[in-house]
Amino acid sequence: MTARGFWVLAMLAMAFPLSAVQYIVGGVQGHATIAEALHLASAGDTVMVMGGTYREGNLLIDKPLTFIGVGRPLLDGENVHDILTLSGRNIIVMGFRLENSGISAMNDLAAIKCIDITGVHIEDNQIARSHFAIHLANASDIVVRNNSIEGVPRSEHNTGNGIHLWKCKSALIEENDISGHRDGIYFEFVSDSRIRCNTSRGNLRYGLHFMFSNDDRYEGNRFIENGAGVAVMYSRKVTMEQNEFLHNWGNAAYGLLLKDITDSYIGQNYFVHNTVGIFMEGSSRMQILWNSFSKNGWAMRIQASCNDNRISLNNFSGNTFDIATNGTLVLNDFDRNYWDKYDGYDRTRDGMGDVPYRPVSMYSMVVERNPFTLILLRSILISFLDKAEKAIPSITPELLIDRRPLMKPVRV
């Protein structure tokens, strides 16, 4: 060997110091079990699982591996186990179908469980009939993308969440399809994360449940026919953009429930056919802009405990009630919204009505006090009373007023 040849070889060896090994499970000459391959593999290797059904109880991955299913192998938890447990760093899981994780009221059994992990990438898996589908605890640098998750809705206390994050950082939850769980996506103590373009449908409690999670952003998601829509609680600096909240119907059903939220932004969302579009309690310094509320029972219900919120440039059309509130104190600013019930005029031709609009009708205050009076909805007597109240407000909060209502809907 010449000296030059030696150097080339040495440089190649430095470029690929530990050339990754590929382990194959199943097929003709592969390993018989996944556990065996996982045991043999070392950091940076790839374990490829061929199509077939594998019943191996709980599989633990605790080193940086790429774990790939080819031909969508099925990992069956036989209704007893956590199926996959991931821990450590830099783990990729792709292309599997996971079914029948165990169900337990004591432990949070899950199809894919990640504990104490940095760098985890879960993509293109199908998860069915599991307790929790993807459960992440104390994790960071997370990508959960394009998984389809389908649960069996039982009752709230013995059904787990679809994608569950507890004490996580920097997560990206993207393009997943979740149905039939307790909460579609659950965030608790999660910061600096994004939830993008997911569809959460038909979950027992919330489509998205968000607690004590600051500096997060969710956008482009669809929340359809969930028990109570989306709940965002006790959080700061949350951005909610371009989501669709559809058909969340029921006694305590909201498109979006905000409880003790501050400094957040809600923009360009669609609220259609919800019993209550947005329910706000104890929330302050929110910017609610460019949203569309249509055909809801109540577009917004703003409790008197909210202050310094700005509700502007939104479209309200076809709602039974535009705004409801529970007191006379109003510390929020309504400005330049489009209200389809507005019947004023615009003589100055600046696109804004010359007469202020009062979005809270007397009747909505009456219904607030005595819900049975809902039976008088659309009664002629009620419309007379509403007209009288508009002329001389006595029950409705005097300051809840849009002084510059738009004449035409805002183009979003």
Binding site: G297, F372, I375, R378, I382
Partner: protein, 258 residues
């Protein structure tokens, strides 16, 4: 029986040539066309038409029927001189009057609504409108039979309209607030059945304001009125509102000294 149909047909063809009926149909048609053309959202137009259904239909049906009865008084006397039963004569008067009003409603409001909506909502609108017309005509005939004097009859009918359209809801509101500490589910259902206009309103609003009514109390009403059974129930009670006043007025009419 054939005599009654012949008579009904005759009176019917007489009434539909009446200017008032033509005006009534024309007014409804104009209102419907204007609303559907001016309003971008057909749902909102239907809401306004619902107000017409709830105010104008009862008012016109009641007053027109009363006046018609008094105006046909001599004609009725003449008919009764023929070999015709009182029941037959009275029923033909009622049927002809109600059917012509229904025709005006179907032409005026029904067809424009059917052009824009082809669902259960439109069907419900037509059905309740028709039955409401029948019920109001029956109530008006009852009042007219009771009072011999025309002014008095019209006065009674106006008061009844005022009561059903406005006062009744006030009473309901008062009851609901007075007894707000008690479970009122069944009571509210009963209260709506005691007023044909309210019944029509509730059955329509259950289809239009679904989202609001999915809340706590609404769910009960929705469950009750929402299904096909609910339509049957509404229709049944409205029919009772036709049949009961009719039976009462027939009784009076049969023994009345004309």
């Amino acid at each position: 029986m054939t005599a009654m149909w012949t008579l009904t047909r005759y009176i019917f063809s007489d009434i539909i040539r009446n200017k008032v009926i033509v005006l009534y149909a024309g007014f409804q048609l104009l209102a419907a066309l204007l609303l559907f053309n001016l309003e971008e959202n057909p749902d909102k137009a239907l809401l306004s038409l619902l107000n017409i259904e709830l105010i104008v239909i009862p008012l016109i049906s009641m007053i027109f029927s009363t006046i018609h009865y008094y105006n046909s008084y001599e004609f009725i006397e003449m008919l009764l001189a023929q070999p015709l039963g009182r029941r037959q004569v009275f029923l033909s008067e009622f049927l002809a009057c109600a059917l012509s009003l229904v025709l005006a409603f179907v032409v005026g409001l029904g067809i424009p609504v059917l052009v824009h909506f082809q669902d259960l909502l439109a069907f419900n609108f037509l059905l309740t409108g028709t039955l409401l017309t029948f019920a109001c005509t029956a109530i008006a005939f009852c009042a007219a039979v009771l009072a011999r004097d025309k002014a008095r009859g019209i006065g009674i009918v106006l008061l009844l309209w005022f009561y059903f359209a406005l006062v009744y809801d006030g009473i309901v509101l008062m009851i609901l607030f007075t007894f707000s500490d008690y479970p009122l589910e069944r009571l509210t259902l009963l209260l709506t059945a005691l007023n044909p206009i309210d019944l029509t309103r509730v059955s329509m609003m259950l289809r239009m304001d679904v989202s609001a009514l999915m809340g706590y109390t609404g769910a009960l009403f929705k469950e009750f009125f929402g299904s096909y059974r609910g339509i049957l129930y509404t229709g049944g009670i409205l029919l009772l509102w036709t049949i009961l006043p009719l039976i009462m007025s027939l009784r009076i009419f049969r023994n009345k000294d004309l």
